[in-house]
Subunit: 446 residues, 2 copies
Amino acid sequence: MENEEVNKVSELIADKKSDELKELLGELHPADIAELCNELDAEEARFIYLLLDNEKAADVLIEMDEDARKEFLDILPSETIAKRFVDYMDSDDAVDIIREMDEDKQEEILSHIEDIEQAGDIVDLLKYDEDTAGGLMGTEMVIVNENWSMPECLREMRLQAEDMDEIYYVYVVDDDERLRGVFPLKKMVTSPSVSKVKHVMKKDPISVRVDTPIEEVVQAIEKYNLVAVPVVDSIGRLVGRITVDDVMDEVREQAERDYQLASGLSTDVESDDSVLRQTSARLPWLLIGMFGGIANSMILGNFDTTFAAHPEMALYIPLIGGTGGNVGTQSSALVVQGLANNSLDSDNTWKQILKESVVALINASIISMLVYVYNFVRFGPTATVCYSVSISLFAVVMFASIFGTLVPMTLEKLKVDPAIATGPFISITNDIIGMLIYMGITVMLS
Amino acid sequence: MENEEVNKVSELIADKKSDELKELLGELHPADIAELCNELDAEEARFIYLLLDNEKAADVLIEMDEDARKEFLDILPSETIAKRFVDYMDSDDAVDIIREMDEDKQEEILSHIEDIEQAGDIVDLLKYDEDTAGGLMGTEMVIVNENWSMPECLREMRLQAEDMDEIYYVYVVDDDERLRGVFPLKKMVTSPSVSKVKHVMKKDPISVRVDTPIEEVVQAIEKYNLVAVPVVDSIGRLVGRITVDDVMDEVREQAERDYQLASGLSTDVESDDSVLRQTSARLPWLLIGMFGGIANSMILGNFDTTFAAHPEMALYIPLIGGTGGNVGTQSSALVVQGLANNSLDSDNTWKQILKESVVALINASIISMLVYVYNFVRFGPTATVCYSVSISLFAVVMFASIFGTLVPMTLEKLKVDPAIATGPFISITNDIIGMLIYMGITVMLS
């Protein structure tokens, strides 16, 4: 949203020009109005909401930033939230918003929802863990019985579909509500009307269970190119569906999370967050780096006689530390990404380490050779520094490669998020071990 | 795909047990068969393909890894590729696969496609730049005229939709083929049959132009929660559609690309790539790091008298360099991610730098204070090192924060990918400038 537009709307609000505003809002998509409300203050946003019909107001609320939404909802009475917003939302969106509130407010809102079925669905959905299929699913879907004929199916669908925005699949269940099949809505239009549902449907459709972790839901939707996936309970009864737009947010968040961890940021921080939030997301990693640096200074302190005898040794501290950090970051990033997109399996740890070792051997040889040539020219053939720096570089590259592969693979096996082993962790560890290797080799050679 | 399963299939192929294989393949989704083929050698994969019907074989080919697919297609005659595969694909998938071949083979394949309309569509699509909406779109869609009645529409749709797998929207055009509206397929089922299309459709639907960059297409689909978006030419005629599954791949690739650049990897490398490919993706960055390290050794070489007088100065080289690198990585990652998900605008450079400076001020104060206390205890209150290290740390954190924000913001303004300013680039630059600051301050204070 351009700044000019936001300013124009602010002015219209200040002048209470409701008619002009209504016209302008009528042309905008709910996602655009939400962007506008994110920029406005909560008071202005509330003015905007009064001009929208209930359906659109609910859509806008869903699309708003969590922070702006919280501020906006904070002073609204629970009854208003229930009747103006929650009643008009899909169950999964309603649950997302109710989850953001404290328990007292949650109960108040639930008690004010007019549609009893909607309230019941929300209560059920709130029980599921946020990180599972159950926590992401909604209950709005078209369900038909396998024994119906297509015309029966069509009639039923017209009834069920009235409140739903968009429908892509029709789900087929047996008399015990167990999921038996699915067919794309297209079949409703193109199948001969004499067909029975069970002959039109695709049997044994891809589905997820309520307790399937979200990452696996994302994988299924991506792999099988689905627009929605049905969710079943432990005995195979159809209880909900997850749509691709919810999953897309997950894909981005997942990829962003790995990137943030690799960059030394706690998850869930954005460039537009407050100074305080940014500091608390960044300072911990910087402090860990600081302790690493101090540890390094202690290690190096033990070798002050070496520096006295060979002052040129100090000049290569950044090269050795930096190279170890770079190599380790590369190795760990490759592993983390491979594990995330399933091109790598933690059962193949040794195979991957072997391959990584070959790559490391090539890189290590080339780098240490080049540095040797440079030092040969700079210090002459007899200087210890020629050997000690190149041998150390070689050892550091080999170590950092293998370590950067082994650690995330091991974490994955232990069911710990391997991404925490990237970024500052790997570069600090490699920095310290690099110095130990460098000093050890220097002492041995001198 | 589990190793056991792959081995079992390999054995069945070796024993030429076609019937058992056919049964097994019948139960598998094309995406699963593709995974299997990725693991098998090209010869085995070709055996599998002979057992599949054309429709399924085409689906499997689309889902395969680019490398495995290339190997598989390499020895097949163009006629087979055209008639067994391309004829059965959606136009956008066909274009993806044909693009991977050299021009001679492309022409040969095109000449063998039996469906003239399909061949024409592919030729048209090949003209578009891969990184634009035109390069991603397909031509399979249901198009109706705004003046038709719903029953007319339904009849026409049955004809058009026969070859299409799934349909989510119906696109509405005027007599000049210009996009006028869209309605979800659901309306076809739920609207009264007397309605005219123009009264059912949503007017002025969200669309993209053939020359819209892919990133903007992704943004539109994510923001408006679409399952498909129509593509129009420069005068508004409907020429294609882009579906969410193609966009999802883009979202992941885009996020992965930023992460790879931040980790010092060229784009497009995976943990399962060959040793040679991995080396060529990694060595360039390591060499840049090596030159940075050598440059650093030259800078430090000018201060050997300082090290002689204050040998303890050498101990803090890793701390100063590491902290600068960590801070710079954080700042640049926040900016790159903010620009990628549109929460940050390159027009707001100065606002962002101001905010970043405040965060930096807090971080810098805390870190340099803590290090001062440590050095005070370690070396006593009169040691120069107490002041020089803490003042340098403060300066380095401030510099690295501002530099790490300014560079990607400036690149974005210059329409260069800001992600190249993360990872090794930022940490090497900060390392070198950190050393300059450290040495400068040390010389001033001693």
